[in-house]
Each structure stands twice: as structure tokens, then as C-alpha cells.
């Protein structure tokens, strides 16, 4: 029986990109449905009534929500190909911990960088760099957070990298100057077809953020 996979998504979402990346890693065919978040489809509201957010994966009619939960689901169902989580429970716990860390910190700090000014923005930039440095430390000398191949933490974090140009531009700072090893890691990831085909063009993202700022009346 062929699997029916639908992804409800919004093109600039780094959370939606995580799911695209996981599906690409597993070589899965799926139907991509672009949502207009100002006019959410009846399907989205039916499939994610609790949060009404993207991404939502619909597998044979059953919805799964929350990007890291979706990625784990994909990893568990299609476990034979390109495993994203290690098999050892302790290594899995470490991967979950760091993916959770990315979730707790980066989105909010990134949002503050492009949407605030003055001291609030400076504080957000400083904290953001501190978080990236901590992640650099966790990466260490490994090619990927997952070791020799990309894993759960790589999927959780790399999708933010196409937002870096926007953060740098609106925050007036250089991430590469502060975290060269992390940028090297993003470039290494982008050499993979699954990553480059799942992430958006940083200039397009920059344009999107510019549009958001105008709409929100932030100069």
C-alpha cells in the first residue's frame, strides 16, 4: 500500500524546513501544501485544531504536529533509511536535549534581533551568539552533530542557517566572525542535496523579514 504523505507548511518557516529535510533524508515522496497564515485553510484548522500552526504532517490521513515530534515520527516509521537518532538511549537523550535547547532559545532570540532596537536588540544578539558558541562546543571536532552523518540535532539547527543572513543584516553583526566553526558546519550540511533542497534562499528569507518589519511598522 502506498503511503500518502501531505505536509502543510509555510515556505520561510525554519520549523517546516526541518520536516522537509527529514522527508528528504528518508527519500520520501509527499505533497507539499503552502499555507497562507493570514487565511488558514480548513484542512490546517481540522488537522491542528489545538495550535492551528504549521508544520503539520498528514500520514495516511492522520495528522502529526510540532516539528521535532514530526521528525521523530518520520525517523521511527521509516527507520530503515538514514536514521536521524542514534540507537543508544544515552546518545538519544543527548540529541533530544540539544534539539530542545535549540527550540527553547534560537527562535525567540532571532525574532528579537530582527524586530527590536537598542538595548533589547543588543542583549538578544549577545545571547544568540552565546547560544551558538555553546552549540559549537557541543559539535566539537565532529563533522556533524550526529557524528559522521547528519542527525536529529543537525536537522533541528541547520534550518535556522538560512535565516542567519537576515539576522546579520537587521542586527548589524557577523555570525561567521563569532562562530566560524558553526558556519563551516552549515556549509558542510549544505553540500548535501537533502539540506540544500529543503532550505530556502537566505536572500528570499531576508526579503520576507523586510516585508514583516514593514507590516509590523518596525523601521
Amino acid at each position: 500500500m502506498a503511503d500518502e504523505i501531505i505536509l502543510l507548511d509555510f515556505w520561510p518557516s525554519m520549523f517546516g524546513m526541518r520536516v522537509r529535510l527529514a522527508l528528504a533524508e528518508k527519500g520520501l515522496k509527499y505533497e507539499y501544501k503552502e499555507e497562507d497564515l493570514r487565511n488558514k485553510s480548513p484542512l490546517l484548522l481540522e488537522m491542528n485544531p489545538v495550535h492551528k500552526k504549521i508544520p503539520v504532517l498528514i500520514h495516511n490521513g492522520k495528522p502529526i504536529c510540532e516539528s521535532l515530534i514530526i521528525v521523530q515520527y518520520i525517523d521511527e516509521v521509516w527507520h530503515d533509511k538514514s536514521p536521524l537518532l542514534p540507537s543508544d538511549p544515552y546518545q538519544r537523550a543527548q540529541a533530544r536535549f540539544w534539539a530542545d535547547y535549540v527550540d527553547k532559545k534560537l527562535y525567540e532570540l532571532g525574532r528579537k534581533i530582527w524586530s527590536t532596537k537598542g538595548e533589547e536588540q543588543e542583549t538578544a544578539k549577545k545571547e544568540f551568539i552565546e547560544c551558538l558558541k555553546l552549540l559549537e562546543g557541543e559539535l566539537g571536532d565532529k563533522p556533524y552533530f550526529g557524528g559522521e552523518k547528519i542527525g536529529f540535532v543537525d536537522v533541528a539547527l541547520v534550518t535556522f542557517s538560512c535565516w542567519f543572513h537576515a539576522y546579520e543584516s537587521f542586527g548589524n553583526f557577523s555570525i561567521e566572525a563569532e562562530c566560524p566553526k558553526l558556519i563551516a558546519w552549515t556549509k558542510r550540511c549544505m553540500e548535501k542535496e537533502s539540506v540544500s533542497s529543503s532550505l530556502e534562499d537566505p536572500h528570499k528569507v531576508h526579503g520576507f523579514v523586510m516585508g514583516m518589519k514593514k507590516k509590523l511598522g518596525i523601521e
Binding site: V50, H59, K62, I64, C65, E66, I69, I70, Q72, Y73, E76, V77, P89, Y90, R92, A93, Q94, R96, F97, D100, Y101, L134
Partner: protein, 220 residues
């Protein structure tokens, strides 16, 4: 090889209580270390340098932090009496609801304790909406996990804190009249042999909450 399992927690933290429940459900022997959060031990700072928080589980010298991450680790390491379903879809649902509880209910519960007047009324309504949502997930089931306590029931121990808080501060948020389904589930939860052993001592919890949060004006 003998297992060495340590749990760093605090007596009032529902997050460290989650770990106690899971370890006891699995019959795992462990050493409990009570932390003083205003004077964190060098061990805690060493085992959780990123967040410096409890709970931390240390298994044969290796630390695991973040309560939901620890619960999954426990379930994968000690496989009997599973707390997560084996089916990937059911597992994803359990993770979804535990995350809902931590991302939505917990912040609202902490906010209701420090807000006043109109703002507090608004947060109370928010919490009641969330409780309705949880009731619609629970439906006719004995527990969120089905016939026995599972991952979501353990995560929902926040409701223990909510009930203590509402009594301590004279608020009415979760009542039997408004939430008969959740109320029934709660009675079964605290009746469970393992769960009730792991609850913070009630009188102590009540008086501590009064001391920590008592300056807020209660609303009905």
C-alpha cells in the same frame, strides 16, 4: 555491574517528582539528592552546566537533563512497565500532549500566581480553556495512557501543583463541577500506589505556596 542511579531534585518541584514516578514505576533503585536552589551544589552545576536546573538524572556517572528527555531515557533504558506506547503514531500523540502541558499549561499556571486583577482573570480563563482541551483528549479513558499511567499522565502532574496553588491562594480554577472528566482522572491518579508515594507532602506544599505567592490578590 551494579547500576548507580542518582536523581537531583527538590521536594516541591513537580518536574523532579515526574522522574521519581517513572523510576518507581520501573522499580529502579536510586539515590535522591535534595538540592537547595538558592545554593546549588557543585555536583548539580557540573551535571547540568547548560541550564543549572533540576531534575537531573545521573546514570552510572552520565547526566541527563530536562524532565521529558529524562522520562524517555528511563523508558528506553528500563523497558518493563513502558510509559510510552510502542506505536509511532500513538507515541507522537503522547509527546504532543506532554509538550502542550509544558509549553502552555505550565507557563499559564506560574503566571496566574503572580498576576492580579483583570490580568489574573484572563489567565484563569486561559487555563480553563487548556483544561477543556485536555479533557477532550482524555475523553472516556481511565488515564491519558489508557488502562495504566503513562507519559502524559506523568507530565500532567502539573495539575497537582495547580490544585495546591488554587487552594493556597483561594482561587477556583479546576473544580469538579466545571471539569468532571479531569476531576475523575485526578482521583484515579492520586489513588495510584506509585503516584501517591511521589507527591509533595500536602500541608508543607500548601504553606510553601502561600509563602512564595501569597501576596497576589485572589480572584473567584
Amino acid at each position: 555491574m551494579t547500576e548507580e542511579v542518582k536523581l537531583f531534585g527538590t521536594w516541591a518541584s513537580i518536574f523532579s517528582r515526574r522522574i521519581e514516578v517513572a523510576l518507581k514505576l520501573k522499580g529502579v533503585q536510586f539515590e535522591y539528592i535534595e538540592e537547595n536552589l538558592s545554593n546549588k551544589s557543585p555536583a548539580l552545576l557540573k551535571y547540568n552546566p547548560v541550564h543549572k536546573k533540576i531534575p537531573v538524572l545521573v546514570h552510572n556517572g552520565k547526566p541527563v537533563a530536562e524532565s521529558l528527555v529524562i522520562l524517555e531515557y528511563i523508558d528506553e533504558t528500563w523497558k518493563h512497565n513502558p510509559i510510552l506506547p510502542t506505536d509511532p503514531y500513538e507515541k507522537a500523540m503522547a509527546r504532543f500532549w506532554a509538550k502542550y502541558i509544558d509549553d502552555k499549561l505550565w507557563p499559564a499556571v506560574t503566571k496566574v500566581l503572580v498576576s492580579k486583577g483583570e490580568e489574573q482573570k484572563g489567565v484563569i480563563e486561559e487555563i480553563q480553556e487548556q483544561l477543556k482541551t485536555l479533557e477532550s483528549e482524555l475523553k472516556e479513558k481511565k488515564f491519558f495512557g489508557g488502562e495504566s499511567l503513562g507519559f502524559v499522565d506523568i507530565a500532567a502532574n502539573i495539575i497537582v501543583f495547580l490544585l495546591v496553588a488554587q487552594e493556597a491562594l483561594g482561587m477556583e480554577i479546576l473544580t469538579e463541577e466545571k471539569f468532571p472528566v479531569l476531576h475523575g482522572w485526578y482521583q484515579r491518579l492520586v489513588d495510584d500506589a506509585v503516584f501517591k508515594e511521589c507527591m509533595p507532602p500536602r500541608e508543607q506544599h500548601l504553606s510553601s505556596v502561600k509563602v512564595w505567592f501569597g501576596s497576589s490578590t485572589p480572584s473567584k
